[in-house]
């Protein structure tokens, strides 16, 4: 490295350390969000240059003379050599979703510091490593999927178990994300109207792109965007209209039923009519909103009102139950490390990469950007008043349903807030109430509205910005719901098809209807249970979601470690082995605590026992209001305990298979990894 370059890196290091000191050591005064942003960017630059490239060059041994699948199997469709910046955009759009926006908001109950540290450490040592390594391994195997690769490198049983794990996480993800939408939209006519409008808007776009001007994505998206903005602005009038507002003021259970029905219909309709046009809108809206948020944070440079560390670091918080370890590390899943990305990294991206020497940029770099989104979500949650934050994120069973009572409870926790502040905030954002809007999305929307209105439109536009943020989150969650239902349906057809071969035929309408109904039934049941859950749903279900998502990451990283051993690169196996071990420890501890903990706030079984005893004695325990509700809580406890136990069993089985594969690989005299292709003169070499 030249002297000049060393100097630049030294300057970045110093800037990063100084910013970090400002963030971490400042006590008493509020910290400017800009320091957090600068500190993170410095971490990303240094991590990419010194760790990401080290992994690519030393650990994986990328070979720029080796032909990639994009050239070897070039078909102009799936396999296409693609410019690295274009591919980076594609990859980022594919991995970015609701996860990194919601997790950090929930984690803010412990203060912004613990979550931020985990986001940064997690992405550098686990998340980005996973994305890049899986991308590398898939690129060397013609772009095959994670499941396929596990099957061929670790055996068919390990592959099938990982497949069941993917189905499990898919069902839980859909339920939890749909729950986030329900809590954001319940009793919110403005939000419900705007989100409902996206369905007819998608039909118009779909018909335009199918018949009027086929294939004009830009024109379709423009039409959609204009209609969407119109719906967003008209939404305020709807919410103020005496006749229209009641039509769109829906309760949680009603919304849940509507979303389940929507998921079913959307997954059997032709894709061009609903799914694809919504996908266009949600993708472009997502990228646009994230860019706007980054610009907003940089221009406004808000102060963080949330303390660095709150009293809830002891595990007694109202947003989600459990201690810092292991629960913080599963609450922030995406943004630090997300198992889902291993599916993307072994999906479309490896089929388009031009050269192995771009794997670090796309795999490691793409995940760093995702982590940056998580940091912005953390900032969004921390710029609003902590009292407002806790009033929004605590269940009605904890803080009651009136502003006066909520303010009293939250102030009692040491976050002084007046009932006026809560009602004023609700008025500012155009809602009847902001109490118990759990799930992270509404909190982030308030944060984003606060930041956006700081440089565009002031307080008058806060309601529009709030609903814009809700719309953007709901839109891509609902796109996930119909795409995810199709994925679930396919996996169910595949699984059931082993017993009834005729069920595997995916072109049969009857099969698809039954498959979709089964898929929607699975996630719909969990969603409905979450919606009627007197604890507010997120409290119960988010830890389950985080644990299963991290479970998938643990499986992916374990698989990467196995392949490093098979490649005879065990010297470097710690690079994936250590984060893999950490995730196994986190998910297994969290899973076991969820099942077995004697504390009824954390353990599902002890909670069920507490409620069973109370039912036997004829008592009604808060927050349940009747014996019927109590019984429902008990049933859900047992279901959730089963799911958590299943996740633990899956992780442990994969680990056992991995150890067996590693022992076999170590006793083999040479490289036993099953790769495709080898070094040849390649066209994309630079």
């Amino acid at each position: 490295m030249s002297f000049k370059k060393s100097l630049i890196w030294a300057a970045i290091l110093v800037l990063g350390v100084v910013s970090f000191a400002m963030v971490a050591l400042n006590r008493g005064e509020s910290v400017n969000a800009a320091w957090l942003l600068i500190a993170s960017v410095c971490v990303y630059l240094i991590a990419y240059r010194f760790y990401g490239l080290f992994i690519a060059n030393r650990v994986l041994g990328v070979n720029s003379t080796r032909q990639t699948p994009a050239y070897r199997r070039n078909d102009g469709l799936d396999y296409v050599p693609t410019n690295r910046y274009v591919l980076y955009g594609h990859h980022f759009a594919a991995i970015a979703g609701a996860g990194p926006l919601v997790g950090p908001v929930l984690a803010a109950q412990m203060g912004y510091l613990p979550g931020t540290l985990w986001i940064l450490a997690g992405v550098v040592f686990a998340g980005a490593v996973q994305d890049m390594t899986v991308l590398f391994l898939s690129t060397r195997r013609d772009g095959r999927s994670l499941g396929d690769m596990i099957r061929s490198e670790m055996g068919p049983t390990a592959g099938s178990i990982a497949g069941i794990g993917v189905l499990l996480i898919c069902v839980i993800v859909l339920a939890v994300l749909a729950l986030v939408v329900v809590t954001a939209l319940k009793n919110s006519p403005w939000g419900t109207f705007t989100v409902a409008c996206t369905i007819p808007i998608a039909f118009i776009m779909g018909a335009y792109g199918r018949y009027v001007r086929p294939g004009r994505i830009g024109e379709m998206s423009l039409i959609g965007a204009v209609l969407l903005v119109a719906a967003l602005i008209y939404g305020r009038s709807v919410s103020e209209s005496a006749t229209l507002a009641p039509l769109f003021t829906l309760s949680g259970p009603t919304l849940a039923v509507l979303i389940i029905g929507y998921g079913f219909v959307a997954s059997v309709l032709p894709v061009w009519l609903l799914l694809a046009p919504r996908d266009y809108l949600s993708t472009f809206l997502k990228i646009g909103a994230l860019v706007l948020l980054a610009v907003g944070v940089i221009i406004v440079r808000p102060y963080l009102q949330m303390p660095a560390i709150t009293r809830f670091i002891d595990g007694s918080g109202p947003v989600w139950p459990g201690n810092l370890f292991p629960f913080l590390f599963i609450t922030i899943a995406c943004g630090a490390v997300s198992g889902w990305h291993s599916l993307i990294s072994s999906g479309t991206t490896p089929k388009m990469i031009e050269n192995e020497n771009q794997i670090a940029f796309i795999g490691y770099g793409g995940m760093l950007t995702e982590s940056f989104v998580a940091i912005m979500a953390m900032i969004g949650a921390s710029v609003i008043h902590p009292g407002v934050y806790f009033a929004m994120n605590s269940g009605a069973g904890v803080i009651g349903t009136t502003a006066a009572h909520a303010a009293e409870v939250v102030s009692g926790w040491g976050f002084t807030v007046t009932p006026d502040m809560l009602t004023q905030m609700a008025r500012d954002v155009g809602e009847n109430s902001i109490l118990s809007r759990t799930g992270g999305a509404p909190t982030l929307a308030v944060g984003m509205a606060t930041i956006f209105s700081g440089f565009l439109g002031g307080r008058a536009l806060m309601g529009v910005w709030y609903h814009f943020a809700i719309l953007f989150e709901a839109l891509f969650i609902l796109t996930t719901v119909d795409a995810g239902t199709r994925v679930c349906r396919f996996m169910i057809q595949d699984l059931v098809g082993n017993a009834i071969p005729a069920f595997k035929e995916t072109r049969s309408w009857a099969n698809n209807l039954v498959g979709s109904a089964l898929a929607c039934g699975l996630w719909g049941y969990l969603l409905f249970a979450g919606v009627v859950d007197p604890y507010g749903g997120i409290w119960t279900m988010w830890p389950l979601f985080g644990a299963t998502n991290q479970m998938l990451a643990a499986i992916a990283l374990t698989f990467c470690t196995v392949v490093l051993f098979k490649m005879k690169r065990e010297r470097y196996a710690w690079v994936t082995g250590v984060p893999s071990a950490w995730l196994v420890i986190c998910t297994v501890t969290a899973g076991l605590e969820k099942v077995l903990s004697a504390n009824p706030k954390v353990g599902f079984l002890s909670h069920a026992r507490q409620f069973t005893d109370a039912v036997a004695a004829g008592h009604v325990l808060a927050p349940a209001k009747s014996l019927g509700e109590m019984r429902r809580v008990i049933v859900n406890d047992y279901i959730d305990a089963t799911l958590a136990a299943l996740a633990v069993a899956i992780v442990l089985t994969v680990v056992v298979y991995a150890i067996a594969s590693i022992r076999k690989a170590r006793s083999a005299p040479r490289n036993t990894a099953i790769e495709i292709g080898g070094p040849v003169a390649v066209a994309g070499h630079d």
Partner: protein, 66 residues
Amino acid sequence: MTRVKAAWGWAVQTARLMVGVPDYETYVAHRRQHHPGQPIMSYVEFFRERQHARYACERGRLRGCC
């Protein structure tokens, strides 16, 4: 001016690929070069094929959620 045009071209290409539609010109060039004399899909056929393929999970295309 050519630079602005090139940057715009990249932006459009990136946006299209984000929603699963790769570059049509590249596809046509590929067919001409490697499969001369064989049929080439029109843009509309190409667009529909790609749109369908993006959501066809039965061909091993799992899409992420978060």
